[in-house]
Each structure stands twice: as structure tokens, then as C-alpha cells.
């Protein structure tokens, strides 16, 4: 046991200074913020100042109404209107090219956000052009579409002879407010994007954690084999002390890494006052993290011990990445229907269990039975993998050059310990 700690301490202290570790430490939060939190933050964040949108109204009949509805519907927190409509006069001949040139120059000068061209026959023509430097701003386009549609519909209804008050009633806008229900019956307001990204971020965290440690582990084994330090090590301690020490040291690294990320996550959530997950859920996620991590660490040991060249190490890593990538691929399906049979089945495949559950829990809490069963499956396969890794490690650490064939591999695992 003492030797295990000595190895663990060495692995931890030496690796924590390594470039690979430091890069991964910062890379993950950067990716987390850019792919997850940032779009959600941007999308849900209200504008702070009014935006000017120009309108070229060929018939001249809609501009006033449009301006009125926009002002009424979208107001900034400071009480100012969110959008100010600026009419651009059209040549009496009906030619819009002059107005368009003027509007284009205004867009490019940055004076207006963009502009819409309302055609002459607004009542029948259903195409409205929106021109802007930034057409990816779905918030503006969505809002404009809604307002224009409502105005036109209202007008169409009125022309058919409906009472204006009835029309108002009939066309009142509908707002969709999404509320996530948790098992305990608590409500929390959360958009699809937030739920999805939270789940996704947790899964990515796990992916990175496992990948970093796995790579460090395989690399450290490779180094010890190629510089033959392994012979000194194995003459100083039992293979199982060495393996346990390595896994322990790396788990320490992973904990450090996770602690760092959690600290960043907390800082972000406090700053922007978002609750990512409740405490109980976090504990559950943590349990899956640890169990999944141990399973993968053992797999990496078993796969890495026979490796003796850089090329082989990369091959091994890419196979393992493939397995880890599966949950990322099915994440979209899982979010839409976290309790589908496919997702449930995938949750019981040990190498996928941890990532699948980490993905599912923030979206919709699986049943207690399913949680217990998956945990048992994961823990048992973790123990099994560790036992196997111990055998493989002991027998293949001294193999240089040739990698054992599958058959030899199996016989190694089955060979009796001395």
C-alpha cells in the first residue's frame, strides 16, 4: 500500500506540471463556455439599447401600424422601445431602387440594424424581404416575422368584415413559456437550449476528463516502457501496486481538474445567476463520473500496457475516443426523448452508461430503479475491468515490440497469478 501511494504521489506531482494537463485544464472551460453557455446567454439576454430598423413600404399603408405594434410589444428594461422603425420614402413612380441604395448605405454605415421591403401587394404577396449585415440574428427575424404576420392577418380579417375588436381578440399574440418539471414536482423555468446545453456540458466534461487521463496514462506507460524505467519499477514494487498507484494518481489529477471546472462553473452561474443543477442531482452526476472514470481508467490500462510505440498508442486512443463519442452523437435524440427504448438500452452498455446517464439526468430524471441498476452494472463492470487490467498489466508490461494477438491476450488474462 505504501508503494502504491509513492507511485500515486509521483504520478500526480509529475503530471500536474505536464503541458497536456494544463492545456486540458483550460481547454474544457473554454469549449464549455463557447459551445454551451454563450449562445444561451446571448439568446436570452435583452438588448440594452433601441435598434433602428428601416422600412421601405411600397404601398405606404403598413409602416404606421407596424411601428405601433413593434413599440407596443417589445420594450427595453429601461422603458424605451426595443425597435424604432424608420421609414424610407419611396419614389412616387414606385421604383424602390433609390430607396434600397439609401437603405443599404445606412446598414453599412451602421446607422440601422437592417431593413424590410414591404411589397406593393402586401395583401396577396407573402414574401417580405429583410436585408441586414447580420441575418443570423434569429431574435430579430423571428420577431419581425411575427409582427408582420399579425399585422397582415389583422388587416385581412378586417377587410373580410370582422369587427376590429373581435380581430384584436382573435389575433392576440401567443407566448410560449417553457417550464421544466422535476420529479419532486418543483417547477423551474428553463428553455430547451439551457437544458440541452447543461446536459451536453456535463457529458463533454466527462469526455474530456476521461480523455485527458486516458491519454496521460497510456503515454506514461509508453514512456516507462520505451526508456525501460519499467524494469526498475517492477524490480521495486508489485505490478498491481504500480497499476493502482497510477490509477490513483490520475484520479487525483482528474479530481483537481474537476474541482477547477466546478469552481469556474460556480463562478459563472453566480455571476449570471443561472442554476445549472440542484445539489442532489450534482451528487448523482458525481457518482456516475467516478464510476465511469474508474471503468475507463482500467480499460485504458489494459489497452495501454501492451503498447510499445507512439503509433500504437494513438491507435488505441482513437478506438477509445470512438466509444466515447457515441453519447455525443446520440445526445440530440436523447434530449428529445430521454426515455426512448434505444436510449435506455444504451444506458445499460457499461462503456456508455456513465455518459448516457450524465446526459439524461439533467434532462429528465430516470426512474430510481434504472439509476440503481445502471450504477450496479457500472460498478460491477468497473471491478471486472480493473481485475482484467491488473492481469494484462502484469503480463504485458515487459513486452516490447510485438503486440499480443487477441488469442495471446485472452490467455494472458486467464493465466494464473504467481
Amino acid at each position: 500500500m505504501r508503494k502504491t501511494f509513492t507511485v500515486a504521489r509521483w504520478e500526480y506531482l509529475e503530471r500536474i506540471k505536464s503541458k497536456a494537463f494544463i492545456i486540458s485544464l483550460f481547454l474544457m472551460p473554454i469549449i464549455m463556455v463557447t459551445t454551451g453557455v454563450l449562445p444561451t446567454l446571448l439568446a436570452s439576454r435583452p438588448d440594452t439599447e433601441s435598434k433602428v430598423i428601416a422600412v421601405i413600404d411600397q404601398s405606404g399603408e403598413f409602416e404606421g401600424e407596424l411601428s405601433h405594434v413593434l413599440k407596443e410589444r417589445f420594450v427595453l428594461p429601461n422603458g424605451q422601445p426595443n425597435y424604432i422603425l424608420r421609414p424610407i420614402p419611396v419614389d412616387p413612380s414606385g421604383d424602390v431602387s433609390g430607396a434600397r441604395r439609401l437603405a443599404d448605405s445606412l446598414v453599412i454605415a451602421g446607422e440601422i440594424e437592417g431593413y424590410v421591403i414591404l411589397p406593393m401587394s402586401m395583401m396577396t404577396d407573402t414574401t417580405v424581404e429583410y436585408r441586414s449585415e447580420n441575418i443570423g440574428n434569429f431574435k430579430i427575424t423571428e420577431r419581425l416575422t411575427g409582427v408582420i404576420r399579425d399585422v397582415i392577418t389583422e388587416r385581412r380579417l378586417r377587410e373580410r368584415g370582422f369587427d376590429p375588436t373581435v380581430v384584436k381578440e382573435l389575433t392576440s399574440p401567443i407566448e410560449l413559456k417553457t417550464i421544466k418539471l422535476s420529479k419532486t414536482g418543483q417547477e423551474e423555468e428553463a428553455g430547451f437550449a439551457q437544458v440541452f446545453f447543461t446536459a451536453y456540458v456535463f457529458m463533454m466534461m466527462m469526455f474530456f476528463l476521461i480523455m485527458t487521463s486516458g491519454q496521460i496514462l497510456v503515454r506514461s506507460i509508453l514512456e516507462e516502457k520505451s526508456n525501460r524505467v519499467i524494469e526498475i519499477l517492477l524490480s521495486s514494487c508489485r505490478p498491481r501496486d504500480l497499476m493502482a498507484g497510477k490509477i490513483m494518481g490520475l484520479s487525483g489529477l482528474a479530481l483537481t481538474q474537476m474541482g477547477f471546472w466546478v469552481a469556474i462553473g460556480l463562478a459563472v452561474s453566480v455571476k449570471f445567476s443561472i442554476t445549472l443543477v440542484p445539489f442532489g442531482t450534482a451528487m448523482l452526476l458525481g457518482a456516475y463520473f467516478v464510476l465511469g472514470y474508474l471503468l475507463y481508467a482500467s480499460i485504458f490500462v489494459a489497452a495501454g500496457a501492451p503498447v510499445s510505440t507512439e503509433q500504437e498508442a494513438q491507435q488505441i486512443n482513437s478506438y477509445l475516443v470512438l466509444i466515447l463519442v457515441i453519447p455525443i452523437v446520440v445526445a440530440f435524440v436523447a434530449v428529445q426523448n430521454p426515455n426512448s427504448t434505444l436510449i435506455r438500452i444504451l444506458s445499460f452498455i457499461p462503456v456508455l452508461t456513465a455518459s448516457m446517464m450524465v446526459l439524461r439526468i439533467p434532462i429528465q430524471m430516470p426512474s430510481a430503479l434504472e439509476i440503481i441498476l445502471t450504477m450496479v452494472v457500472l460498478a460491477l463492470s468497473g471491478l471486472g475491468a480493473m481485475w482484467m487490467a491488473g492481469k494484462v498489466f502484469r503480463t504485458t508490461m515487459l513486452l516490447y515490440g510485438k503486440r499480443p494477438s487477441l488469442r495471446e491476450f485472452v490467455s494472458l488474462v486467464r493465466s494464473r497469478e504467481r
Binding site: T6, W10, E14, N227, R228, V229, E231, I232
Partner: protein, 307 residues
Amino acid sequence: MLNVTRVRKTFASVIAVDDVSLNVRRGEILGLLGPNGAGKTTTIRMILNIIPPDGGTISFDGREFSEDTRDIVGYLPEERGLYRKSKVLNTILYFARLKGIEADEANRRGYKWLERFDLLTAFERRIDELSKGNQQKVQFIISVLHDPQLVILDEPFSGLDPVNQVVLKDTLMELKQQGKAIILSTHQMDQAEKLCDRICLIDRGKVVLEGSISDVRNRYGRNTLHIEFSGDASFIPRMPWVKTSHLYENSAEIELNDHEHVSTILRELAGRLEITRFENSFPSLNAIFLNLVGGAPGTNGRKEGTG
């Protein structure tokens, strides 16, 4: 100290070590000799319990290998290398702690050894900043810092300059004085001849020669000529009195047929060469080695280090 009795080891279909027995006493250096692929490294690994033997016994002071045994042996592998990115002293301390030495004590001894090998200024440097020779000295320190009772050194002199070779030789002699048992595996026969008390020559997994240096020499008798000369000596192997010969640029070692008259031979040689040294003595270990394992070492195609 160490008793190896009839150990065997087979890899797939190759018999790497076949019935090897050897023993090392305290205060003695045993030369473990043999061509490449003879089974030396495999034997050493079995002694160190890195790989289990298929048969035979290995005992330390009469006791079988136990976990405590690991702490009383020190090993310098043939192929060198250390953690490239790690600091010198840190690395030394790590291995010392693995051998059960407390941090403070390891630190104290580490400085002492570094000083002895003139590496004191390098203790904070990274391993890959050191020269090959210095890395090797660090590795030697690692193999002896924990004050092992049995020290196994595989080619400890290769890569060292003459000055450091002397430092290492003195250190080995000192370890011997302290009553350590030392196994020295080497290809350098002259070194083995000078340093070892006894030798054990392994070829193709079997012990082919064993005994003290003087025993071995006596066994081969005094019918060897050591000569130094100038001139063209290429005629020597064809002479009728030559049993075997090893020619070098300006010297030769000639094993004579039985009952040859040395003085006749001297006259004959003096007629054709400028002789500067002429000695009738024991064969060198090198000649014995070459005769026993049949020609140049390493031609049998087997590679050492795969097991």
C-alpha cells in the same frame, strides 16, 4: 546471498534459460557473461522477480523471494533511460522511496552520491538536459542509494568516459568491501577479468563455464602466447603450432597445440616480425569466451531483451 538453482524459462517455443544455476556470496563480484541473446537478461529478470521462472528455485540468504526482498536488491538495467522531463534529485528520491527509504534519509544520501559522482550542481536540472554519461551515473545512484544487499548491474561501464569508469570501479570495490553481493553482467571481458572474483558464462540458455577467474584460467593451462609486434602477422594462423589465434593490429593471442616448444616458436616469430613482447601465460577471458561460444558473439540471430 543469492542462490539460483536450475531455473528454466521458455518463451513461446524458445528456451531462453535452461537449467541455469549460479550463486553469489557477500563481498563478491560475479561476472555474468555470455553473447547477446544468451539468456542473461532473462536470468536477471527472474532473480528480480520481474518474470516468474518456469522451474527451479531462487533464494536470498536461504529464503524465497518475498516483498521485502525487493527492497534489498538494486538493479541497473542494460538499456538506459529515465523520466526525461523530471528533475534529477526528484527522480532519485522517487526510486529511493519506492525502495522504502524515508524522504529525509533519501535526500541526505542523494546529495552524498551526487557529490561523489560530481553531479551536485545538476540536482535541479531535468534529466534530458544531462549528457548520456551523466544520466547513466544518475541511474547507477538509483540502483545503489537504498543500500541494497544484492546489486545487479548490466553493462555499468558502457558509455562512461575513462575518468568516470575509474570512479565507478572504485565504487564497486567499496560496495564489495562493505559485503554486498554484486552481479556484473558485461561483454567487456577485460573488465570482467579485472573486477570479478568469479564468472559464470552463459550461452544459449545454459551455463557453459563457471568458477573463479584463476580456476578458469588454470583449467585452460599456460599454453597461450601473448605477443606484441610490428610487421605483417597474417601468416600466424597458418602455422602448424597454432591451435587458435586472435590477431589484432599490433598484438595477437595464440593458443598453442599441446607440447610445443615455446623457444622455437619465439625464434621463428622473431625471424619474420619485430617482437616487442612475448609472454607464455594463461589465455585471456576474451579468448576463452570466443572459443567457447564459437566465434563472434551475436551471430546466432537471437535478440536479447524480448523477455
